[in-house]
Symmetry: C2
Subunit: 117 residues, 2 copies
DNA sequence: CTTGACTCTCACGTCAACGTGAAGGTTTAG
DNA sequence: CTAAACCTTCACGTTGACGTGAGAGTCAAG
């Protein structure tokens, strides 16, 4: 699978995929021509990257987490133990972010409540 | 109340407060010396700004929303009707963001589940 | 009346996740 | 065999919410 195929299937751009590789998140094989070659597994990895990015993790944190995410999603990983503290901290950060989003949504709801429609 | 007092009470910096003013979010009075003078109400406004910023709204959107938020929080605002669509869109965006955060947290939870402690 | 802690207004720097050409090689359909 | 449509590697540009001095005025205490 070539870069723009994967980009299309993941709903992103070739540039983003090259950037992920530059940050150590993807490691595609290379053809003799230099073209990047992605396998099916790469699509799931990219989806994980997008999810974690949208959760506010940066590429550095994701680079540490990704190797701990098993290929087969139904099987739990032998979690990298040195990351547990960091992961718990990120989890707490996400929970706080969700609470803040909820509070912000409540503010908007107070305004939308008097909707004349 | 001077700028660094408000900054301390709001857990932010003078620079951020000047930036908010530059973006039209705050309108402090000025002393003859040119010093900014903030009233108690300003603290609540700053908290609203922080909340909405953390929810992913930019200063432009917040500048439109703020005048619709009543001083007395217990009273609903006569909502600015032209903003309803934008507010609803932001609300939807926040809901999606919360869902993505939840999904990302689930990913982390799968990894944390095998915590040996 | 001076010193230290504020304050003011420019104005450039930062950081992360890409966007956007530039200049050139590769693949594939006709 | 050629032209379109890919791909490659630099490398600089963008965006938003500030950080960080620079240079200068202001205020409160001793």
């Amino acid at each position: 699978m070539r870069i723009s195929d994967l980009a299309r299937r993941a709903g992103t751009t070739p540039r983003a995929l090259r950037y992920y590789e530059e940050q150590g998140l993807l490691h595609p094989a290379r053809l003799a021509s230099g073209y990047r070659q992605y396998d099916e597994q790469a699509l799931r990895v990219v989806r994980h990257i997008q999810l974690l990015l949208s959760a506010g993790l940066n590429t550095t944190a994701i680079a540490e987490i990704l190797p701990c995410i098993p290929d087969d999603v139904t099987v739990l990983a032998p979690t990298c133990p040195e990351l547990l503290d960091g992961l718990a901290a990120e989890r707490a950060r996400i929970t706080r972010a969700m609470q803040q989003l909820g509070a912000a949504r409540d503010v908007l709801d107070r305004l939308l409540q008097s909707d004349p429609r």
